[in-house]
Subunit: 80 residues, 2 copies
């Protein structure tokens, strides 16, 4: 089973990486970009085949390693 | 209009960041993780309201700045 995890900064947390991208896009001539936020996208290939168990395992991985839950949110999506 | 962009390494391209995550998960006691790949997730808030124009603009942004198309793929998703 595959898991797709999105880790994004919480609203209100300053995102210097996103700001840098927005600035660079402006320099390249792209107008009309109001805001850019950058997050992480992690794909995991799991041996687990049970959906509930896989979700619980990935949740634990997010809490313990993948996301800094003080400033980041995470979203888990499971794919067969 | 909002655009969600996923930038991922092409198959076959070595992903040291993913390898490091897989290794760290193993050290934390998570078993059954076959492979981890890490990519980038970028959210753009665009002033453009026309779907086709917005897609074309984001495609150009990916080609010119957001993705290194030699080693990375990108996927664009538009949200109202």
């Amino acid at each position: 089973m595959k898991a797709k995890v999105h880790v994004t900064l919480k609203n209100g947390v300053l995102d210097p990486q996103g700001k840098a991208i927005a600035h660079a896009l402006g320099n390249l001539g792209f107008t009309g970009v109001n805001e850019v936020r950058q997050g992480k996208y992690i794909e995991l290939d799991l041996a687990e085949t049970d959906r509930a168990k896989a979700h619980e395992a990935v949740k634990q991985m997010c809490e313990k390693l993948l996301a800094n839950t003080v400033i980041e949110n995470y979203a888990i999506e499971l794919v067969e």
